[in-house]
């Protein structure tokens, strides 16, 4: 019994270390390499750019982290983001106010997330399959609605706000920082947050402990959808347009890699929001530097895929034994 009691703690500790060491080594390796071969990377402007670029991925990662901590997955997040951006974009392109356009994006994202939530929580469907199907449906809708073209011609005031740099910090970075803070508080200090962790560890044990399992799952997916809506705002402002292309499949890969690198367990019940967001910065950095070093898009896919496999292996070896 004593043996059994101490083992998991030791290995979990080692797992945490192995993960941090690996991330640090990778980051240092990239940093050193860039120092010699792409010194322009270290200009302040470029660094700020990396943060801005990370911002949209980071918000999607917050949503994915919530769903994955609850024991699920939402593959439809990028597709949700693209469709929401298109819907809000239509409104703004037709001369609507940016504020209402943004609200449309948030509302559409949340509604689509809730649809996934109903399917998973109340119809007991498997998250992976449901959201894969939703992803296809949403992508199809986006292409159909836009005829594969971009929706653009948004009001200037939209860009005035979203591309501003109060105190030298770009608006998106501020928005993301606030989102990370709010989501962290939500997960650590509210009823819903604690319930998400409990459901992610064991839905059966959570139910016995009077946790409203279905409602918790529904809200989790809804929250992820809200994040997709927020990302729609950030990205359509940065690109100046909205299109089905915003939600290409490789974004799913980026989200999952970032969240897993950030220490969220694919088995549910474990993870921190800020760490997942940091994972997004890491993945953006990785993409960026691969780009600077002249690696092709396909090679970078290979490398990111390998990174995911590596971290999932760590997750499985040290925490997946349940």
């Amino acid at each position: 019994m004593a043996h059994e009691a101490t083992m998991p703690r030791l290995s979990a500790g080692f797992g945490r270390h192995a993960r941090s060491v690996l991330i640090l080594a990778l980051a240092l390796g990239i940093a050193t390499y860039l120092w010699f071969y792409a010194p322009s990377f270290y200009r302040t402007n470029n660094l700020i750019n990396v943060l801005v670029q990370s911002s949209s991925l980071a918000v999607l990662c917050i949503g994915m982290a919530v769903v994955m901590i609850g024991g699920g997955i939402d593959l439809s997040l990028p597709a949700n983001m693209a469709l929401s951006a298109i819907l809000g974009g239509f409104y703004m392109a037709a001369g609507g106010s940016p504020l209402i356009g943004s609200v449309i994006m948030l509302a559409s994202g949340t509604a689509i997330g809730m649809l996934n939530g109903v399917a998973v929580a109340y119809l007991k469907m498997i998250p992976f399959v449901v959201t894969l199907a939703t992803m296809t449906v949403l992508n199809g809708l986006s292409v159909w609605l836009t005829n594969s073209t971009s929706v653009s011609g948004f009001p200037e005031s939209f860009f005035d706000v979203m591309l501003a740099r109060p105190w030298g910090v770009p608006t998106p970075v501020i928005i993301v920082a606030v989102a990370i803070f709010l989501a962290s508080v939500l997960m650590s200090s509210t009823l819903l947050g604690r319930h998400v962790y409990a459901v992610g560890i064991s839905p059966k044990a959570a139910e016995v402990a009077r946790v409203p399992v279905s409602r918790t799952l529904l809200l989790g997916y809804g929250l992820a959808g809200l994040c997709a809506g927020l990302t729609a705002i950030l990205l359509s402002a940065r690109l100046g347009s909205a299109s089905a292309n915003m939600g290409v499949d490789s974004v799913v890969l980026d989200i999952v890699s970032a969240v897993v690198v950030g220490g969220v367990s694919i088995y549910g019940g474990v993870g921190r929001i800020w760490a997942a967001a940091l994972g997004a910065v890491f993945i953006t950095l990785l993409s960026n530097s691969l780009n600077l070093l002249g690696a092709s898009f396909y090679l970078s896919l290979v490398i990111k895929g390998v990174v995911i496999i590596g971290f999932i292996a760590l997750d499985t070896a040290f925490r997946g034994r349940r």
């Binding site: 508080v185 509210t190 009823l191 560890i201 044990a205 016995v208 009077r210």
Partner: protein
């Protein structure tokens, strides 16, 4: 029937020790061809281990096995099969997407030129099914069959190698009445063919119907056995459960009834729960007494909505009057301790603090909807102190605690919600003697402080130390109610009474 012949199967002096547990201690078993021998025992008596030894799954530390006069060595399931020993498993082990024939031959496909010979499979399968009097086509997909039909296929698989010994491990636990009759007919025909049948069950009535001999185990030993005609049901129950040292009561039985807390009428689900009626009163500990598989856990789970119910009403005294309540709503008012402590009772990776607070979190929200850590920690410290939970700190993860301390965390979690009703399902399972006593003392304290406790335990001595009243469950129904002063013998008789009366009825008919 030749009763003087030496037994065809003789297991003698079988011992097996697992780390920390003596599973078998000089156990023995003898069985004859053409007869069914019931192997009886309470949970943990060692019957599964003994059957695993025979099936080659477990290697014994000592002992010998003789089959038809020759000593045999069984080192693996393959050895067991080659000696003609077949196992019909309790949990159906079929591959649902394959056909009947494919399932029966899955571990030994006949082949022709390196390819599976489908015609041969079909033909051989048909022969076996015919012998069992089974009309299922060999080409049917197993997933489409009923539980009873699958059980038949499971037997057909065991029959493939012309077995001399067939072990049935609780074959009827999920069968309907007609399916059971058909199974018994098959067993009778196997007996006529001269097979040695070993029959494991928790249902007393079945063994009097289908078995010629009985062997009873307790605590890893064989404690009795012989021809079934020399036994009455109550004798078997007594042998199974043993004479126990009840010790001193932790709580004197209540002499008068207080107000009703809970009233259950006509609760039913399928065959698992049949027309359950009972009342619970303030401040009493009610023991739900029955053998494994009697439906005690099913009843407990149905009451709090963890399992569905077909019909029935539950009424709850909300302080002013008895009013109907849904199981789901009752769950919110009940402290429910499941039998599966590690799987359902606790969230093992979470800290003791978080586990204790989980159902009470609402209480710690500030006006902004944020959790206030200080009162939560104070609650955890209070419970750790009050229940004497041994932890390095309240942040220690629940998975690293000993069983007794884990159970205290589960109890502490519900204590914090101050429920008026506790349902405890095997709260002392797997605990050592001192931890058991501690949990029982806590239970007695709950009742003294005015809560009502519905207690499920397979250990009669535990129930006898604290129960004010007993509800006796047999086969999904409450068959009797006994006062807290009931003796050991009365409790034993209550379990076998329905079986005995059933037998006399049949004898008259």
């Amino acid at each position: 029937m030749n009763t003087s012949a030496s037994p065809e199967l003789a297991m003698t002096g079988i011992s097996k020790t697992f780390p920390g547990v003596v599973a078998l201690d000089q156990a023995h078993l003898s069985a004859r061809a053409g007869e069914a021998t019931a192997v009886m025992g309470a949970n943990g008596a060692g019957k599964s281990t003994l059957m695993n030894v025979l099936g080659g799954v477990t290697r014994p530390d000592a002992g010998s096995i003789e089959l038809c006069g020759t000593r045999i060595d069984i080192a693996s399931p393959r050895d067991a099969a080659s000696h003609g020993i077949a196992f019909v498993h309790q949990e159906l082990t079929m591959l649902p997407t394959l056909s009947v024939a494919e399932n029966i031959f899955i571990d030994d496909f006949p082949s022709k030129g390196g390819l599976i010979d489908r015609a041969a499979i079909h033909a051989r399968c048909q022969i076996i099914l015919d012998r069992l009097g089974c009309t299922i086509s060999p080409d049917r997909i197993v997933g489409e069959l009923s539980t009873g039909d699958r059980q038949m296929i499971e037997i057909a698989r065991a029959m493939r190698r012309e077995p001399r010994v067939i072990i049935f491990d609780e074959p009827t636990s999920s069968l309907t009445q007609p399916e059971k009759r058909r199974l018994f007919a098959v067993i009778e025909s196997l007996k006529r063919d001269g097979a040695i049948i070993l029959y494991i069950t928790h249902f007393l009535d079945e063994i009097f119907e289908i078995c010629e001999r009985v062997s009873v185990m307790r605590g890893g030993r064989t404690v009795g056995g012989g021809s079934i005609e020399t036994f009455k049901p109550v004798d078997i129950v007594r042998l199974m459960l043993g004479e126990v040292d009840v010790g001193t009561r932790l709580k004197a039985p209540l002499d008068e009834r207080q107000k009703t807390v809970l009233e259950v009428r006509g609760l039913a689900r399928g065959t698992a729960l049949q027309d359950i009626n009972f009342d619970l009163y303030v401040g009493e500990v009610v023991g739900l007494w029955g053998l494994l598989g009697a439906g005690r856990t099913e009843l407990a789970r149905a009451l709090v909505g963890l399992d569905p119910i077909d019909h029935g009403t539950i009424r709850w005294h909300d302080g002013t009057a008895l009013r109907p309540i849904s199981p789901h709503a009752l769950h919110k008012l009940t402290g429910f301790v499941t039998e599966d402590r590690r799987g359902e009772g606790l969230l093992l990776p979470l800290s003791v603090n978080d586990n204790l607070a989980l159902p009470s979190l609402k209480r710690f929200l500030n006006p902004w909807g944020l959790l206030n850590r200080k009162p939560q920690a104070a609650l955890a410290d209070t419970m750790i102190d009050r229940l004497g939970i041994k932890v390095s700190s309240r942040e220690q993860s629940a998975g690293t605690l000993s069983g007794g301390n884990q159970q205290k965390v589960v109890l502490g979690r519900w204590l914090a919600t101050e429920p008026r009703l506790f349902i405890l399902d095997e709260p002392t399972r797997g605990l050592d003697v001192s931890a058991k006593t501690e949990i029982l003392k806590l239970t007695a304290e709950l009742a003294r402080s005015g809560a009502t406790v519905l207690l499920i335990s397979s250990e009669i001595d535990e129930l006898m130390r604290i129960c004010d009243r007993y509800l006796v469950m047999v086969r999904g129904a409450i068959t009797a109610e006994l006062p807290g002063s009931a003796s050991h013998a009365e409790l034993m008789d209550a379990l076998s009474a329905p079986v005995a009366s059933h037998m006399t009825q049949r004898a008259r008919a």
